[in-house]
Amino acid sequence: MSQSVSIHKSSPSQNADKTYNNNWAKIKSALEGYLYLVPSLIILTIFVFIPIVASFQLSLTRIAPFGGKSIAVGLENYTRLFADPEYINSLKVSLLFTLGTVPGGLILAVAMAIALSYPMKHLSWFHRLLIFVPIVISSAVTGVLFRWIYHPVVGYLNYILSLMGIEGPLWLSSKDWALVSVMLAVVWRQLGFNVIIALAGIQNIDSTYYEAAKVDGANLWHRIRHITLPLLSPTLFFLFIINVINSLQVFGEINILTEGGPGGASNTLLYSIYYDAFVGTPFRGYASAQAYLLFIIILIMSFVQFRGFGRKVHYQ
């Protein structure tokens, strides 16, 4: 055991008795350490670590059509995926979803964070309150609230559009607009988080840069363009990755607003996993293969973020 090895190393005492006591004390304290970890380790082992393997094993199986026995099929589920037009569609939908929510959401967040960063004597708590409040709203509540806003007849969105002379679409049942509807709802729910992180980033920028720029006569736009944005870039990078990962994990809004439809128009990678695993006839092996691919995508994003974030800490 590695335990006893390290104990010998760390106690090169000549006195055998003393060594024995010392060793015993160390074993006891080590056992105590493990004891404190046991509850968390048991839960994480059963519900996180083992499932990493179990999920992969599951992805190599298929349920026999009769008898419900599980058959090993090797990598068949994976090879099938890339020939499956529905899966290709989900890849496209998720890509569109990410492209549609992340850059736009970040631009909005930075614009708001810059405005919020000005020190103001009054009401700054109030501005923050209104802009941050979506952070505590769940995906299900977001779905319900937006379903009401998108209501084709009495919804507020189409009413406001009509005031501008635009005839609003049937948001949720339109093949062209269903995904956009979900995107808007998700951008809204993520906004508070993005603004908070961006604002913290802006407030960490050394004010002397701004003072120097002002001496040089730089106007507001120049200050934003040449000081705020470049110095905020590590934060933006972090936010970008986090938002891409989040956009791949959106579920509640889709389940409530569109259920992946119409005709797969909002059937993202995750929604497709859920659908194949739990709706109608369960294809859990096939769903697990999809889950594994999604995991790999998210893992790559996480690694990119860790590397980038490490650099950021170094760089500041």
């Binding site: 380790l41 501005h127 309150l129 609230l145 806003i149 407030q203 960490n204 701004y210």
Partner: protein, 293 residues
């Protein structure tokens, strides 16, 4: 994180027009951002005619609490709410307790493999729930065949995968590490063992971090959706998040939007209250960790 030093400084002593403009801009944006919540609250107090009237109005013409009575009693929404309280309460209590214990081991105690185990736990943060929920569902389903009390449609099933939190362990460990070792040494001299030192000295000193983590834990648990959706199929075990979805789909046919909005307001009220009470702490926590929990 120094928040005091650096801000974009506006020109001093100029006319305050700029500042007034900024206020207008920010309030405008803020109202748009908060609109879905504000509209839901007002709609939940409207009578049925008022809601379907075109053009829609902002404020109710007649204020009524009828929708709340409908929402609370028509479906067992009160039951969903109670389920959510039990589920969330259980998750928060265990996450906090287990995280304190593990964080203590990782910050104060010394034993072989400590750092390796810590990194393993940290690595679990990179495993998305989207990967684990299918095998976890199968695990619980299998347990249910042995004993229904630990199978699907139980509070046990709703909570057990989330009783430990790698995020909590990390957060509390970071805080415990800032507490001087001398304190532990002098406690030892006074005859306090690890258990007493942890609960009588370290935990009271870490109240801020622990309560911050509790808030994150509460928000995360209360908002859960995917797991409660797949692990419960009996109506009386639904959480409020799943409950409002089914309530919505039931009511939509009758187009009782007032009741739906009342249900949504009931579902968001606990987290909204937390936000109003602990906004500062919450924002600081997010800014510091870059995580939502």
């Amino acid at each position: 994180m120094s928040t005091s030093t650096a801000q974009i400084k506006p020109a001093r002593r100029k006319i305050k027009w700029g500042e007034i403009g900024l206020h207008v801009y920010l309030i405008g944006i803020g109202l748009v951002v908060a609109a879905p919540i504000i509209l839901a609250i007002f709609t939940s107090f409207k009578v049925a005619n008022d809601i379907t009237n075109y053009p829609p109005t902002l404020l109710p013409e007649v204020w009524t609490v009828e929708n709340y009575i409908t929402a609370w009693t028509a479906t067992p929404l009160w039951r969903f709410f109670a389920n959510s309280l039990i589920q969330t309460g259980t998750i928060v209590v265990f996450q906090v307790l287990f995280s304190i214990l593990a964080a203590y081991a990782f910050s104060v105690l010394e034993f072989p493999g400590r750092d390796l185990l810590f990194y393993v736990i940290l690595a679990s943060l990179m495993v998305p729930f989207q990967l684990t929920f299918i095998p976890n569902f199968l695990t619980i389903a299998k347990w249910g065949q042995i004993n229904e009390a630990i199978g699907p449609n139980t509070y046990f099933a709703l909570t057990v995968p989330f009783l430990a939190s790698a995020f909590g362990i990390f957060l509390l460990r970071q805080f415990f590490l800032t507490i001087p070792k001398d304190l532990h040494d002098s406690a030892k001299i006074d005859g306090a063992g690890n258990w007493r030192y942890l609960w009588q000295i370290l935990v009271p000193l870490s109240k801020g971090s622990i309560s911050a983590f509790s808030i994150f834990s509460f928000l995360g648990a209360w908002s859960q959706y995917l797991w409660p959706l797949v692990i419960t199929n009996e109506e009386n075990m639904r959480t409020i998040q799943i409950g409002i979805r089914f309530f919505l789909f039931d009511q939509e046919r009758g187009a009782d939007w007032g009741a739906v909005m009342a249900a949504a307001v009931i579902a968001l009220m606990p987290t909204l209250l937390i936000f109003l009470v602990a906004q500062r702490q919450l924002v600081k926590g997010i800014a510091m960790t870059g995580l939502k929990g």
